[in-house]
């Protein structure tokens, strides 16, 4: 008997046969496919009991009420809070994507200190001790005004705490980032006197004359504007949109009036001229300077002249004026795009003057002149000797832009330490590179930030803040609304990382400094502080999550509308012109799908951005085919302005005025988040600041530019 090939053949066949008649084959086939259905690297979300928390979103000044769906105590979805006075159930994409900020790759997870050009982890205790030490030295030097601070806004207890900290420290140098709110306050102050701000009753107006205000591009409180706009059809309310580009607002308006960039003020004054000429105005409350103003506009803003400046027909100006006057509840609103960057006081005042002339002030559907909300009552600040010294000092500048210019101009440091809270000037101010230079000139920069963004990168110490989902804070809404809602942000989960509420960080710091400063911050936690300072409304605030402070017009309605002071405009302040002498004008575009400022966008928001705005890493610039000589639609081009140049892609758009280039605002971030950063360019890099005399605002509405094929 010899073992030969065939024996092995038998062996093989036997084995195969044996396996075939066993369940192995069938089971393995099934299990291998089931394995692909449950790949261990595909996450399986944990199930559990469903619960809802309500809070407020403060990703933008809109401050909408939100409802957070939680499963097994994990937040899984953010939605608009039904019944909330501002947004009543609606929500914008940024708020809905809010959860992504919790786990943002660029979040600051612990306090950081800069060693060389790298950041190193450090404990809260050490960080605070270090900062306190630096600050103590400044005070020893006897020049406490050399501590400066930049925050995002002025309203609410947290900005007020920073204010209080500086006061107690002895420095007047508190600056806020440009915002629609500050522009409106400034306008109200200029035309109606101190302590006021403006609100616009969009829901009830029947003729809205918008000077580029992006009602559905994030102007004011976005969701409430969306709702007001959506209800127009039902109410038969008209919207005329005046701007160089067919924005979404212009697209849904009843009439789009294309106008040369930066000439909005001229058109507004031109319309004033027509109204005054036809004696179609109500002067009962006009105080100073109306006659001088009337003469000024008659001479300087005759329709014929304005038509030339703005690039529209004389007839149109008169038609618009006519319709504005004839309307039952006309309303003129200022603030190009989001009304945040590059706004001019002249423009705001000119546009609001239309409201004054037509006499809709504090009328239903009109413009409301409201007292700034004052629901906060802080105990009297205690100043020690050093603080007294600083208190006497002049503020270095009128606006954050001017402040930055001064820092750069100065030879040796005029500021020894700088706080930045919830602001990203190194990205969102015009020509950020100059802002970064300025920061380099400050020996010690402390950033109170949730994210390692462009500004935080420039800091020497970063104190990590809770996001709006992890913190407690009161957020008064204004943002051009006629109602004054104070909302309460409440934590929906424990801080994900080693972060603190800004208030707690300040209290911690004050305590470390001791002395009178500590006395000014004599609270155990920020929560206690909030309870104290909002004492008047705390109970209903903490119970309902918001308090509706009834609008407080300048005077009560029956006393008639507020006085109007024309002296500012009567002098016909000069209109800011676009810098440079290239043939085209580059204007930034505010796009609802991009936040444009602080914080940077969420991955979801970026995902919604059209490929007509961003392709791969290239930003797309809009140009009218008429002016696109030598360019190819979708092709590459080099965009040059007096302050910079950038590689871009071109998009032929019939919806933009010939001679104008449109570039979206909010791209081109440079920090470490591959889903959001290094996409396109930051339009602010290409635009230089233009400080408006009188207001100190950076009023650069755009800049001259040229574009060429590459």
């Amino acid at each position: 008997m010899k073992v030969d090939r065939r024996s092995f053949l038998g062996l093989g066949l036997g084995a195969v046969a044996g396996v075939v008649v066993s369940p192995v084959g069938l089971k393995l086939t099934d299990d291998s496919s089931i394995w692909t259905q449950n790949w261990p690297w595909t996450p399986v979300p944990v199930d559990g009991e469903v619960s809802y928390d309500s809070s407020v979103c403060n990703l933008c000044p809109g401050n909408c009420g939100i409802s957070v769906r939680k499963i097994a105590d994990r937040p899984v979805k953010i939605e608009g809070l039904a019944g909330y006075p501002i947004n009543d159930g609606g929500a914008c994409l940024h708020g809905i994507a809010g959860l992504q900020y919790l786990y943002d790759p660029a979040r600051v997870k612990t306090p950081l200190i800069k060693k060389g050009d790298k950041f190193e982890k450090i404990s809260w205790e050490d960080a605070i001790t270090l900062v306190a030490g630096k600050l103590a030295n400044i005070r020893k030097g006897g020049a406490p005004q050399k501590l400066a601070c930049i925050t995002d806004k002025t309203q609410g207890s947290v900005p007020k705490l920073f204010d209080r900290f500086l006061t107690a420290f002895g420095s007047p140098n508190l600056y806020t980032m440009p915002s629609l709110e500050s522009c409106l306050e400034l306008t109200a102050q200029t035309l109606h006197g101190n302590g006021n701000t403006l609100g616009f009753d969009l829901e009830n107006s029947d003729f809205i004359l918008s000077f580029g205000a992006g009602l559905i591009e994030g102007w004011g409180s976005p969701v409430s504007c969306f709702k007001a706009n959506a209800s127009r059809k039902k109410r038969g309310a008209k919207l005329y949109q005046i701007e160089p580009r067919l924005s979404n607002t212009a697209a849904c308006a009843d009439k789009w009036i294309p106008i040369k960039p930066g000439t909005e003020a001229d058109l507004a004054l031109g319309i004033c001229a027509v109204m005054i000429k036809n004696n179609q105005f109500n002067s009962s409350t006009f105080k100073d300077g109306f006659n001088r103003f009337a003469i000024m506009v008659r001479n300087k803003y005759a329709p014929a002249k304005v038509a030339g400046i703005c690039g529209i027909k004389v007839a149109d100006i008169e038609k618009i004026a006519g319709q504005f006057v004839m309307a039952k509840r006309p309303l003129a609103i200022p603030g190009r795009g989001r009304g945040r960057n590059g706004q001019s006081l002249k423009e705001f005042a000119a546009v609001h003057t239309l409201n004054c002339l037509v006499g809709n002030l504090n009328q239903r559907g009109g413009a409301f002149v409201m007292a700034k909300n004052d629901y906060l009552s802080f105990p009297e600040a205690i100043l020690d000797g050093v603080a007294e010294v600083g208190a006497g000092q002049e503020k270095l500048a009128g606006s954050v832009d001017e402040f930055v210019t001064k820092l750069n101009a100065a030879g040796k440091p005029i500021v020894d330490a700088l706080f930045v809270y919830n602001a990203n000037p190194c990205y969102s101010l015009n020509e950020p590179k100059r802002v970064k230079q300025a920061f380099k000139k400050v020996p010690f920069v402390v950033s109170f930030s949730s994210f390692l963004d462009e500004t935080a990168m420039e800091a020497d110490v970063i104190l990590p803040m809770n996001t709006f989902l992890e913190r407690t804070e009161d957020v008064p809404s204004q943002a051009g609304l006629t109602k004054n809602v104070v909302g309460l942000i409440r934590p929906v989960l424990k801080p994900v990382f080693d972060t603190k509420d800004p208030g707690d960080a300040l209290i911690f710091l004050a305590r470390a400094l001791g002395g009178s400063i500590a006395q000014n911050f004599d609270w155990e936690t920020y929560a206690d502080c909030l309870g104290d300072v909002t004492a008047g409304i705390w109970d209903s605030l903490s119970e309902n999550g918001h308090v509706l402070v009834p609008p407080k017009p300048f005077k009560e309605f029956f006393e008639g509308p507020p006085d109007v002071d024309f002296t500012f405009l009567a002098t016909n302040p000069s209109t800011v012109q676009a810098q440079g002498d290239f043939g085209l004008t580059l204007i930034p575009i505010d796009n609802m799908r991009l936040l444009g400022a602080m914080p940077a966008d969420s991955p979801f928001a970026i995902k919604t951005v059209s490929d007509k705005v961003l392709i791969g890493k290239d930003i797309v610039v809009e140009i009218n085919p008429q002016t696109a000589r030598g360019l190819k639609d979708g092709g590459d081009a080099l965009l040059t302005t007096p302050v910079g140049a950038a590689r871009v892609k071109v998009n032929f758009n019939e919806g933009i005025m010939p001679g104008v280039l449109g570039m979206v605002r909010g791209l081109g971030h440079t920090f470490d988040n591959k889903f959001v950063s290094n996409k396109g360019v930051n339009v602010n890099d290409l635009i230089g600041p233009q400080i408006e005399s009188g207001s100190g605002l950076d009023a650069a509405f755009g800049i001259k530019a040229k574009i060429s094929k590459v």
């Binding site: 979805k77 609606g90 959506a230 294309p258 059209s610």
Partner: protein, 284 residues
């Protein structure tokens, strides 16, 4: 069982004059349905967006140009003659997608799908998306995923489900409370509830008490001009995408603007003027 008691036909009507193209619906959908994201989402042909907002223009030049936005979820076709043979359902070789005759919703079962992508070829709306990559979330971010929608694995097709899990949740509640059926307000999709302009109306096209039915007024009789077309709207301002193909979508669109309504389908030269005033059969 509940769905046996009453046959639903869930659908939507989207007011394109109210839609501002803000993108809330897209993001609400993404966060509701565990949609992944990757570094470059600007290549729209491989970017998963169950709800996609298209930009339409009237093709005129400055300054007469107009634009409109058109949100496009899965159209949940009921197929030629409304028999449930949707373009995608009829071609799927493994029954990974089916037509729910109780809801009118076209399903997609990720664990059944083996990724042949025939359904994607068959869908003229590009409403179906393939998972070319393994879904990946930055560290920690998987914590916000919802257990109500199963995350998809690489190599399968996915699409809008009209938030079916919300229907399930509503039914669970109804069962618990011993009710036979659910209220209109109990089942609303994530895009509907998110729309800040209130442009989306969602509900049961079979139920005259529902807003969507009242706006659309679906015609019970087949379109005399095309026997494959059923449930044509009798509202002159309402239209459907590619209605002439006989896909019989359940997502309707509403617009006052004629050019927008015309953009909804394809017409030979001069054809539009003949058909534009035809809205379902005369029956009222």
């Amino acid at each position: 069982m509940i769905q046996d008691k009453k046959e639903h036909k869930f659908g939507m009507v989207i007011d394109l004059d109210k839609c501002t193209g803000c993108g809330s619906c897209m993001v609400s959908c993404m966060s509701e349905n565990n949609i992944p994201f990757k570094e470059d989402e600007s290549r729209k042909k491989d970017s998963i967006t169950w709800m996609r907002v298209y930009k339409l223009t009237n093709g005129k030049s400055f300054p007469d140009i107009q634009i409109a936005y058109l949100p496009r979820p899965c159209q949940h076709c009921s197929g030629k003659g409304g028999h449930g043979h949707s373009p995608c359902v009829s071609v799927c070789p493994a029954t990974a997608t089916d037509y729910g005759y109780d809801t009118g919703i076209v399903s997609q079962i990720y664990t059944r799908c083996f990724g042949c992508r025939y359904c994607m070829g068959a869908c003229p709306y590009h409403a179906r998306y393939f998972n070319w990559w393994d879904p990946e979330w930055p560290a920690g971010q998987e914590k916000y995923l919802s257990p109500n929608v199963s995350p998809r694995m690489r190599g399968v097709v996915e699409k809008c489900s009209l938030c079916y899990h919300r229907y399930q949740a509503a039914r669970d509640k109804a069962y618990y409370e011993g009710r036979d059926d659910i209220e209109e307000s109990e089942y609303q999709t994530a895009c509907t509830t998110a729309c800040p302009a209130g442009a989306i109306v969602f509900g049961d096209l079979n139920d005259p008490s529902h807003m969507v039915h009242q706006i659309v007024k679906p015609d019970p009789h087949p379109d005399p001009m095309n026997k494959y077309v059923v449930d044509k709207s009798r509202n002159p301002k309402v239209f459907r995408l590619l209605e002439r193909l006989g896909t019989n979508t359940k997502i309707y669109y509403l617009s006052e603007r004629e050019w927008v309504r015309k953009a909804g389908d394809n017409y030979l030269d001069g054809e539009w003027d003949k058909v534009k005033n035809h809205h379902g059969s005369s029956s009222k």
